[in-house]
Symmetry: C2
């Protein structure tokens, strides 16, 4: 046992070597199926990442869509503190788009990548090694003309010939890349192999010592955190990771796990980050809420059961001495932040203060709206907690003037009759459209009634409900994933009434899908936007 | 790339060294807060573990409650194939109880443990090293008098003095323990440390080479799989793990991850297991359903997104050549088992066949009941898939004669009125009790009406809904966790109507809690049952 109190304090000054945290929640994480964050949500997450103290925010992949470009630009313009990074393939157009989106950031970075594995070179790029050398050289050179801070990744490096990878990285360094990231793109390597690979890379390319080495590991075999840690032990001083470990397939290295591993064991291993660990729990909740990706109860660090004393069961040993079964303190990851509590009689000022403590700056009309929802909730719940406030403010942020919206609904149901739902949807034009339907259950009936109201066919792909807080009067948060005209989109809704939360979530998912479809049509109309889908490192 | 087809076939005969899989889903996993499996569910999971091909099933901790004893005994009597293991502290009573429960198994094992770390010895056991030596010696000696197969664990070994741990393990071996398990009880170690620890243990205790070395790792820092793998590389030939990685706090090493890591990389690392990997997905679903513990979408191997092609998004590279971004084939983990499909006109015989393919042996009245539910469902859904069948049969298995049951309900609700629910609950006596209530939403109203009907106060701790399959007409599966009179209990319900599924889940959770409370009162009445809660390795 070594780490304990002081764990939330950043841990510098005790001789630990600083490892930078490069967060890719908004890029690799956001590429997960069904996640469709709008610009406002992305800015909100980026602001929270800045509060969390990450060193780099990979904000998106600007060439892939006008929406992605816009979000990266908005983050670059509003978020201060971390480096803001945009991803780009080696094509000139990609790099120009990345620069266009990030150029207003305090500290912009262009991250460019190309595969060095033969399997990718042959089957994905359909080219040869010589072309890869040339593309890497041209890309880094062009990026450096635009931006002083350039990162280069040899994609699928762990399945590539280490000598060829070293050669390509050498070219990138010669052209001015300051960060070399060695990704385990498909989550294939093991800690011992990765260590050996990176050691060999240092041998082959001594110039690697002059730049920052970075690791980017995927969790397909459950080893992302261990491989990242092995990378750090081998010399990496940047870790690419995502909140809740989201990302392509089984996701990326989980930010909260690698951070708490380094912090908890810093006196033994000598590494730490600048992360404000007490922000971890809130960041995890925000990302889970906005993406609709649940965190399983047994997830390390941020799962509901990660800390035994959170579960309400105080084990005998834990009571006698906390450290008998707990190596971390729940307070260090911010699990006590739920102590802010407002009641029925709390005023607008108290609400504003509480929201500011939670990191939300809410003013004017948004504050009025939040106050109205707060009062409605306070009428139903004895106590309104920080988690409730987070949920209702996040829900408010999802409202948009120009979108479809739930106006009202009515349902009759029971085990001895067919349900009947009537739903009114406010259209972007401002008109109200009403639909009526039976169904297999009341929610099915509501969903069918919404489809009738807006006259659009939707396929329900996923439906989840989570209680925001405990208790009978809990807010329920519903996430709906729909497929509309070949496009997946999600929507969330929060209410104490599950039918209302479901109806809201459904209308929002539908609205997001229709809006996405509109964006896509616009994109298809421009020649430049015909970008092949590529997962990135 | 190396592993591929043939991955489901067990992989022996190609020179890979066999690692045994010791599954602790029903012991360490079942100790997670809020999980309350009944004997029938435990037997069903154990039978599935046997089909999966695990080597050892740790079926429970018999001394802790009559319910645990009964379940271990039932598993020992009905499940054939794997070793059936019961956990015991070093006390004679524990070991006698473990033996009493497992003695009818084909291959029984007693697993006994005591801490060797000073922090546990002082704060949990409140004793000294000499006493630990004596207890270990007496426990293993007594266990060996009863049972030929005895496993010993020095709890919290990774935080203990390695020399003292070696000494205690040496005593256990001298007394006849055939398996020595070195647990990372609090999830504190790292792969390099664990490797060094085990190497040192071999140096200090050469007799360790004569027995089977086992590893048992917790995931508090996200390293359970990597540490287990490091243990195997250092000489361990048994891995203790749990399905979906459930267990105390952040859980145990995930069974499916370590199995697929060894299999996918067996040509490089030379290890494999006897697991029938095509059973992994189904086992994961069953455990998730019975425990109410969701699997996050980005969970490796069994998460919804673990395989890109499952998500409906075929990435460009994957289409060109599967191995560009996928190192495993979804078919190898059984993700194609959803191909069994029945329709409206399928008969009883087709249903019975389909259920048998899914591993359910259902006959007589249970088959009639399942057929009735199937027909009701087939009226609502165009196609009934394997996932649907699993869900309705699992739901039927939850029905018990002597429990509370949902009789009927009626609800009226809407965004412009207060909801009103009337619910009738069938009591264990056979009578129907009706309750009526308003609430914050229709589900709240139903839950309050149930409380009124049975005249019992309950606190809702958790409420989750998951769609069993995609589509508008999907079955919804609701899990409710209640706290009733200080006791946590869960219940599940399945229906196309979310209100009905919720009402069923609530009544079952309530019934489980009341039954548990009855068991606890009976236990408290017997002096012997005053067993201190202890988490085990």
């Amino acid at each position: 046992m070594s780490a304990d109190r002081a764990a939330s304090e950043g841990g510098e000054g005790d001789g630990a070597e600083r490892v930078e945290i490069f967060d890719t929640t908004l890029r690799d994480g956001e590429q997960s199926p069904g996640i469709s964050l709008n610009t406002q949500e992305k800015v909100e997450i980026a602001s929270q990442l800045a509060r969390l103290g990450v060193d780099v925010i990979e904000a998106g992949f600007p060439i892939t869509s006008p929406g992605d470009f816009e979000a990266v630009e908005a983050i670059a313009r509003t978020v201060s503190g971390p480096v803001v990074c945009g991803l780009a393939r080696t094509q000139k157009g990609d790099i120009d788009a990345a620069w266009g989106a990030i150029k207003d950031a305090e500290r912009p970075r262009i991250h460019t990548f190309i595969s060095t594995s033969d399997i990718h070179i042959e089957h994905q790029l359909r080219t040869d090694r010589d072309d890869v050398r040339g593309q890497a050289r041209a890309a880094v050179a062009h990026a450096r003309e635009l931006c002083a801070d350039v990162e280069f990744s040899p994609m699928d490096a762990t399945r590539a010939d280490v000598e060829f990878t070293a050669e390509v990285c050498g070219i990138a360094i010669a052209e001015g890349a300051g960060v070399i990231n060695v990704p385990d793109t498909v989550g294939y390597t093991t800690p011992d192999e990765y260590t050996a690979y990176l050691r060999r890379l240092y041998e082959l390319l001594p110039e690697l010592r002059d730049v920052r080495l970075s690791v980017h590991c995927h969790d397909d075999l459950g080893l992302a955190v261990a491989n990242s840690f092995a990378g750090i032990q081998a010399g990496a001083r940047q870790v690419e990771c995502a909140v809740n470990g989201i990302g392509e397939r089984a996701g990326n290295c989980s930010l909260e796990e690698i951070v708490m591993l380094l912090r908890t064991r810093r006196h033994d291993h000598g590494f730490d980050t600048a992360i404000e660990s007490t922000e971890l729990a809130r960041t995890s909740r925000m990302v889970s809420r906005f993406t609709g990706y649940v965190v399983q109860p047994n997830k390390a660090i941020v799962g509901r059961n990660a800390f035994a004393h959170e579960s309400g069961i105080h084990q005998d040993g834990v009571l006698k001495e906390r450290t008998t079964f707990e190596i971390m303190d729940a307070r260090d990851v911010g699990l006590d932040s739920n102590q802010i509590v407002l009641g029925k009689h709390s005023g607008r000022h108290a609400l504003k203060d509480a929201l500011e403590q939670l990191g939300f700056v809410v003013e004017g009309n948004a504050l009025n709206q939040a106050f109205k929802r707060f009062k409605e909730l306070a009428d139903k719940k004895k106590q309104v907690t920080a988690l409730d406030l987070e949920a209702i403010v996040s829900d408010e942020m999802r409202e948009r003037e120009d979108a479809h919206d739930l106006a009202w609904f009515e349902v009759e149901a029971g085990s001895r009759r067919e349900p009947l739902a009537r739903v009114a949807v406010k259209l972007p034009s401002g008109e109200e459209a009403v639909g009526e339907s039976g169904g297999d259950g009341p929610i099915d009936a509501i969903f069918l009634a919404i489809q009738k109201a807006v006259d659009t066919e939707c396929e329900l792909r996923q439906y989840t409900v989570e209680a925001v807080t405990g208790g009978e009067d809990a807010l329920g948060e519903v996430t709906v994933m729909l497929r509309v005209a070949g496009r997946l989109a999600t929507g969330q809704g929060v209410a104490t009434d599950i039918l209302e939360a479901s109806a809201r979530a459904y209308v929002r998912a539908l609205s997001n899908a229709l809006e996405g479809a509109a964006v896509r049509e616009a994109e298809a109309a421009t020649a430049e936007a015909a970008v092949e889908r590529t997962p990135g490192p």
